[in-house]
Amino acid sequence: MDSVLVVLFSAATSVSTLLIASIGLAVIFGLMRIINMAHGEFLMIGAFTTVVLVRTLGLPVLVAALGGAVIAALLGFVVEIVLIRPLYGRRLVDTLLVTFGLSLMLFQLAVNIFGTTSPGISTPFGAVAIGEYSVSVYSLLLIPVAGLLMLAVYLVFTRTKYGLLARAAAQNPEMASALGVDARKINKLTFMFGAALAGLGGGLLAPIVAVSPGMGQSYIGQAFMTVITGGQAFLLGTLASAAALGGVQNIVAQLVTTFWGLAALFLTSIIILRFMPEGISARWKRQL
């Protein structure tokens, strides 16, 4: 009985981690149709900011992660103006390439600043015993945190003026601009919001992963597959695909090894895309 519970918690943590790592990418891809190749580096920047804030100022992790979000949003602000905006109207692949270039540069800059490894921060809150098993409280905490994060993003896009305008601009740009929506301003906000979510995600994951300049690269593949498997409904679709892929990954990882869990995640998503080339949510009526 306890073991079942532990397995379930572990799977839910897996799904939550995937969600936290992907949500920023999903927002930017879902609303701007931009594949942000530097997403992993935004995660990494959020994580490093959190580590620095925790170690120097002694802030609690959850507060420090908000600092990560702020720093990532500021970077997103600059990146949107300098690199993304000049490329509007050009081929999709151009924005992909420019963020790829950015990703390489940010990686190297992080190496120059922080070195190839970092001391990291310890996982707070200790562990709790479930029967004869010991489970990290922080990992468990990530499950409601991911839920709250999803809820917050959902509310932003359903209850705020920005959210409504952003969805309108994404679904029907001509109509939106005819109604007086400033698409450039909306896009800037969307990119910043996506970057902030990535930074926050990196901060939240900082206590349970090895924080290093290369950490972005180890999340980027999973995050991308989760988002494109999710499809056009960038919130609920991503939630569904994170549940499917994270679940498969975790179960396989527990049965075999971590490595095969990752392989299973990729294989599952490739097979899903073979039959649903536009993602799980392609035929949903909801577009959120």
Partner: protein
């Protein structure tokens, strides 16, 4: 002005005019010239390499040649077929591991490793074939495709990094995990009489240059051949290719497999050069490099791939002397800068400069001849009459919860022309797309000339004789007018292909512009070009989607005349909401309303109907008196 431009064209390609075989001859000459140029460049490269290069330089250049080969594979699939893949370096890596595994196992027995180099290409092609099946037959979209290839690259990196330990052994070859496989045999030939001969570094460089030249010539031929023409068509306009009867999935897949084989051979050469391979060949930095080489060199030029490698690697090497170990920073910067400053790459940009400097550029034909295209001369009388029959039974279609079609029964088998009308939202477009195969009906059957085509994709229906003209001119912007018809004729091998192309183009009055790029044609001419393509397909049944949309009254009259003329030999179905235009067709009319056939009969009968008028005016029938 038009005359001047066309006479220049004729001077430039004097061989082509009048003589159909001359076209083939001209193409062959051009290919020979390319081959010749490649041979000369190769010879010069070898001479320089042998006489002037130090050992270190020879080593470096051999590496660069192997890089150039994988870059060329990306130029081919990206520039020619429009497939942007992050995975070429992964295929390169598979080639490297393929060479490693086979050479270690085979060398003791065969005394050579050339077969391992071939195997490198085969292994990468096989991997590309499997991956390509998922991507292209799943119709994964462009952006998704680049993400998928990236994900595959990342996972291969993880897979090969975690193969440390003795259990990961294939015959004599231990995969070696993160450290990779050292101590590979270099390229070795078996020469009868003298046994195994290992290539020293200078000989390896000469071999590499020769190999690259051979691959370049093969790829150039492929790019200029019919295969390349089809790929350009797919890149420019997938929908139109599908409507012409091409299986787009297959051609993209094939291009990807060919590119995979080339990348794999590059990887094999890389492993033979360094006598090692490790998982970093699958790394993100390596993935970035392949793309940067091609970006800098120019993705529309196969030769540009090699130029790109030399430029980028030289800059990277020089930069490393100033600030060491900053390669990702420099690569990222180069990627961004080349994207903003040199979006077409060095070689195409330079070629354009040289062309305009020589004054050889085709003087502004763009935007000319904006007047309406003249009515095609009537020559179609010689065509045999082929009036196909299409029957739609109980067609229903819903999107999500929205029922657009609710049981449409229509048979098109008697009159030469039929018109389908209906107010906005009646389901006309959906019904049109159900007939073409771009939308699959939720229910009901479509029979074309006796064959059930309900489940067939658009390209198979096109092969069975369905010709489709879309509302907005659907052409291939970067191809010449002549190539359009050539593609529309498909594989129908005719000795008089040239004559057929000429006749079709004369039919729509575009023969004068045969060698102009389609994007230079006026709007009306592009419409005619699309119609010419549809006719060249030799359909038995032609579907026209709102042919009068956006036309002046004069153009509408001409279009109606054209439809009348085509209808002497084909059956034609017109979907239209312009009532005056429909009246001029003098055809039986089916009116759709709320997803059903509301009225069916002559134009006068349908449009004289009180209820039909009410629907069009948006009135309720009992509210007329008010």
């Amino acid at each position: 002005m038009t005359d001047l431009a066309s006479s220049q064209t004729e001077n430039g390609t004097a061989v082509l005019t009048g003589n159909k075989n001359g076209i083939l001859q001209g193409v062959a000459d051009w290919k020979h010239a390319k081959t010749g140029a490649a041979m000369i460049v190769t010879a010069i490269a070898i001479l320089i390499a042998v006489n002037f290069f130090s050992l270190a330089d020879q080593l470096k250049w051999t590496l660069w040649v192997s890089f150039g080969i994988v870059a060329m594979s990306l130029s081919f699939i990206w520039g020619k077929a429009g497939i942007f893949s992050f995975g070429q370096n992964a295929l390169f890596g598979i080639g490297a591991y393929g060479y490693a595994i086979l050479s270690l196992n085979l060398l003791p027995y065969s005394g050579e490793t050339l077969s391992a180099l071939v195997f490198a290409g085969v292994a990468a092609a096989a991997f590309a074939a499997a991956l390509g099946y998922f991507m292209f037959y799943g119709r994964v979209g462009d952006v998704y495709l680049s993400v998928l290839t990236l994900a595959v690259t990342l996972i291969l990196y993880t897979v090969f990094s975690s193969t440390a330990g003795p259990q990961y052994r294939i015959g004599e070859a231990t995969l070696g995990g993160f450290n990779g496989m050292p101590g590979l045999p270099t390229l070795t030939f078996w020469i009868p009489g003298s046994g195994s001969v290992q290539l020293e570094i200078q000989a390896l460089l000469i071999f590499a240059i020769g190999l690259a030249a051979v691959l370049y010539v093969i790829m150039s031929y492929a790019a200029d051949s019919r295969f390349g023409e089809i790929l350009s068509g797919v890149r420019d306009n997938e929908t139109r290719m599908e409507l012409l009867g091409y299986d787009v999935r297959f051609w993209k897949w094939l291009a990807f497999v060919v590119g995979g084989a080339i990348a794999g051979i590059g990887g094999g050469l890389f492993a033979a050069w360094g006598t090692f391979t490790n998982p970093s060949v699958f790394g993100l930095t390596q993935a970035a490099m392949v793309i940067i080489w091609v970006m800098v060199g120019g993705r529309n030029s196969l030769f540009g791939a090699f130029v790109g490698v030399v430029i980028v690697q030289w800059i990277a090497d020089e930069a490393d002397k100033v600030v060491s170990e900053q390669t990702p920073l420099i690569l990222g910067l180069m990627l961004i800068l080349s994207l903003f400053l040199l979006p077409n790459g060095v070689v195409p940009t330079a070629t354009n400069w040289v062309r305009s400097w020589l004054g050889a550029s085709k003087g502004g034909s763009r935007g000319e001849a904006t007047q309406a295209a003249p009515l095609p001369a009537s020559e179609a009388a010689t065509e045999p009459v082929r009036r196909g029959v299409i029957v739609a039974q109980n067609i229903a279609k819903s999107f999500g919860g929205l029922s657009v079609l609710r049981g449409v029964d229509l048979t098109f088998d008697e009159a030469p022309v039929y018109a389908i009308i209906g107010p906005n939202g009646a389901g006309k477009s959906t019904f049109f797309n159900v007939l073409t195969g771009r939308v699959t009906a939720s229910q009901g059957s479509i029979t074309l000339n006796g064959t059930d085509v309900g489940a067939m994709p658009a390209f198979e229906r096109a092969r069975l004789g369905l010709g489709i003209k879309l509302q907005i001119a659907s052409i291939f912007p970067s191809m010449t007018v002549r190539q359009h018809i050539d593609l529309a004729l498909r594989a129908r091998s005719t000795a008089n292909r040239g004559a057929l192309i000429e006749r079709t183009l004369r039919d729509v009055d575009l023969w004068e512009r045969a060698d102009d790029q389609a994007s230079d044609l006026a709007h009306g001419q592009q419409q005619w070009l699309e119609i010419a393509m549809v006719i060249a397909q030799r359909p038995s049944l032609i579907l026209l989607d709102e042919p009068a949309a956006g036309m002046s009254r004069q153009e509408k009259v001409r279009t109606a005349q054209l439809i009348e003329r085509l209808s002497r030999t084909h059956r034609i179905i017109v979907v239209e909401h312009d009532m005056a235009f429909v009246r001029s067709l003098e055809a039986p009319v089916a009116m759709l309303h709320e997803g059903r056939v509301f009225r069916n009969g002559s134009f006068e009968a349908v449009c004289g109907d009180e209820e039909v008028i009410n629907i069009y005016l948006g009135r309720r029938s009992n509210a007329v008196s008010a």
